[in-house]
């Protein structure tokens, strides 16, 4: 039986009087692909930010990789994000004046040390071996997202978080990105938590949770 990588109990997040996430209990086994669905403002990105150590909960407990995230100070959280988590955003957030290779090496730099050969291999794995020296503006949306994937996996995270990573992509690019993620997950054995509002994208996961107004309202497990 796989160990539990994310364990939340009564997890709550409020911004002033607005309760973005109401007490939520969640358990994610290691290696699972969990899709989080919901409308805008349903609390899915808030959940992702809490699990990724980008934000702190207002109440409840949250253990990721067996460690209590609430007990970590700012440096500890930064180390957690650096060494444990990879994140793919909808808007890519690539540095526009750096090449694809340099964008990946930047993630290595903040993690530990830049290693050009390793970064080159990562980009080759996502099919961008011939676009290493291109800047983000010279790449298509799908290619940019593949750079983001290379950047997210370069530090071998145990947890890959996706915040609508295919939101800006057309159908074929979406499929290409999701297939790539699936292939990499089978090789690297990381856990995926992907926020989406697209049922087709959510169906790529092993399990889908539906959120509404900060509450977990429904859960679907894929039947193989």
């Amino acid at each position: 039986m796989a160990s539990i990588i994310i364990e939340a109990a009564g997890l709550t997040k409020s911004y002033g009087e607005i309760c973005a996430l109401k007490p939520l209990d969640l358990s994610v086994p290691e290696g699972e692909w969990l899709s989080v669905m919901g409308h805008s403002g349903s609390g899915k990105s808030t959940l992702l930010n809490l699990v990724g150590g980008l934000d702190r909960p207002t109440a409840g407990t949250l253990k990721v990789g067996g460690e209590d995230l609430l007990g970590r100070d700012e440096d500890g959280l930064a180390r957690f994000r650096r060494e444990f988590v990879g994140i793919i955003f909808q808007q890519h957030h690539l540095v526009p004046y750096l090449t694809a290779l340099e964008n990946v090496m930047l993630a290595q730099y903040f993690h530990s040390l830049p290693d050009e050969a390793e970064a080159r291999t990562a980009l080759e794995r996502v099919g961008l071996g011939r676009r290493l020296k291109n800047r983000p503006g010279e790449l298509s949306g799908g290619e940019q997202q593949r750079v983001c994937i290379a950047r997210a996996i370069i530090n071998s995270p145990r947890l890959l978080l996706g915040d609508e990573p295919t939101g800006n992509l057309d159908g074929s690019s979406t499929t290409m990105v999701l297939e790539l993620l699936r292939e990499l997950r089978s090789q690297e054995r990381f856990t995926v938590v992907m926020v989406t509002h697209n049922q087709e994208v959510a169906d790529w996961g092993d399990r889908t949770i539906h959120m509404d107004d900060g509450l977990l309202v429904r859960e679907e497990r894929k039947v193989f």
Partner: protein, 446 residues
């Protein structure tokens, strides 16, 4: 007031304790105990020796130990560099002896620091008031040890000290502490030794190949050779010897190989380990950097010794028509008070400076205010010593009156009931010869 003057020494003592505590993290209690005990023993030992023996004996012991430590540092620095090239060096495998090293190192460092601090206090004369600071000094040392131990707790643990960098920092701080007193300062004598060594080598070399008569050596060549006799060569040569050990230790740390990470499949894991090793290496450079600063401060302080020296204004004297200069035994000055008394004799446009001094053995001596090596910048007097203003060499008072080296050039004189009688013409000749030879040396002559 006495303790205010000790503030820099106390700061150095605190830093020394911090370093020792950092150097032996598992032995904090032993380090505190032995260093504080050593400090108290250093104060007591200095006091005892200074009371029983002439003051130069404890000073000589401290200087010798400091010199020995500096030589040891040189050896350790070379061995560290050798070891950094992955060669095993059994002498530096000190892990087994850590408890012994903590005890002996802390005790010895405390002993030296205590002796140096005690030397800064006014010599005791039997009164309780002069004796009290010697009692309070070990207490102040112990109090600072307590403070240092609590301060050390907040220092980041990764700022670890290697044995060689710890030794470098301890020696540097002790040298910085001792450089406050010209009687303990090592840098100035070191630069002087370099200058003298260069001078003697060139001199012997020239003598051996009879250069003065050589056909191919034109007079202007002496201009270049003369550069070697200058103060600058001594200064920069001394600087090289002074700073090289700590630079070698820093280089050894820098050259240390990174750990092998080939066994890790994940690139990220490999990079993390390498980054941690590099970060640790950078942190280990902090203590050699601190030692470098302490060495620089010690060299700088050597130019401004805090001990005040006796520097009398030369009194003008004249010669009788028979060409004799008479300095009365008791008159404007007391010749037999053990202090140097300077005089100025003018003959035409020539000015001759000389001094009269009664040395510790009770003999009067008359000497030029110049030596046969340095430029005639003259001498000052400090406790038990003369100081050459040009090269900062210290000359024990009981050797004044003997010719050679950096000693002032003795002048023939007659000691009669009424005072000291000098022959003016031989005084002028002696001055001219000395000044001409040293000037020629400095300007390119041999």
């Amino acid at each position: 007031m006495v303790f205010l003057k000790q503030i820099p020494q106390f700061l150095v003592w605190m830093l020394l304790l911090l370093l020792l505590l950092r150097g032996f993290p598992g032995r904090r209690r032993a380090v505190s105990f032995w260093s504080t005990g050593g400090f108290a023993l250093g104060v007591a030992g200095y006091l005892l020796l200074a009371r029983l023996l002439p003051v130069r004996v404890p000073l000589g012991i401290i200087r010798s130990v400091m010199g020995g430590s500096f030589l040891l540092l040189w050896g350790v620095a070379v061995a560290s560099l050798y070891r950094s090239t992955v060669r095993d060096f059994p002498l530096l495998r000190l892990d087994r002896f850590t408890p012994l090293c903590a005890m002996v190192g802390s005790g010895a460092a405390g002993l030296m620091a205590g002796g140096i601090c005690a030397n800064q206090l006014p010599a005791p004369d039997g009164s309780l008031l002069r004796f009290l600071p010697f009692l309070l000094l070990p207490l102040a040392g112990a109090l600072l040890a307590v403070i240092a131990r609590s301060v050390e707790g907040v220092v980041i643990p990764s700022y670890a000290a290697t044995p060689s960098s710890l030794l470098a920092a301890v020696v540097a701080l002790l040298l910085l502490s001792s450089s406050a007193a010209i009687t303990l300062d090592l840098f100035s004598p070191l630069s002087m030794k370099v200058m003298k060594g260069t001078h003697d080598f060139v001199h012997q070399f020239m003598e051996s190949i009879l250069i003065p008569d050589h056909l191919f050596i034109r007079p202007e060549i002496w201009g270049y050779i003369g550069f070697l006799f200058g103060k600058e060569v001594g200064f920069w040569g001394g600087m090289i010897i002074w700073f090289t050990p700590v630079l070698l230790i820093a280089l050894a740390i820098w050259l240390e190989p990174l750990p092998s990470v080939a066994q890790f499949r994940q690139g990220a894991r490999r990079r993390l380990l390498l980054a941690a090793a590099i970060r640790e290496k950078k942190h280990r450079m902090v203590i050699p950097a601190l030692a470098l600063v302490a060495f620089a401060a010690a060299a700088y302080r050597s130019s401004f010794p805090s001990v005040e020296y006796w520097d009398p204004k030369p009194l003008a004297v004249t010669a009788t028509p028979a060409g004799e200069i008479l300095i009365p035994r008791k008159g404007e000055v007391e010749l037999e008070d053990g202090r140097m008394h300077k005089y100025l004799y003018k003959q035409g446009d020539k000015e001759v400076r000389f001094f009269i001094l009664m040395n510790p053995s009770g003999k009067l001596t008359v000497d030029l205010d110049a030596c046969a090596i340095c430029k005639p910048d003259g001498y000052g007097q400090t406790e038990g010593m003369l100081l050459c203003y040009y090269c900062k060499t210290l000359i024990p008072l009981d050797t004044v009156g003997r010719p050679g080296g950096c000693n002032p050039v003795p002048v023939p004189f007659r000691e009669l009931e009424d005072g000291v009688h000098l022959d003016a013409s031989s005084l002028v000749n002696s001055w001219n010869q000395t000044v001409q030879s040293t000037t020629r040396s400095k300007e390119g002559g041999k």
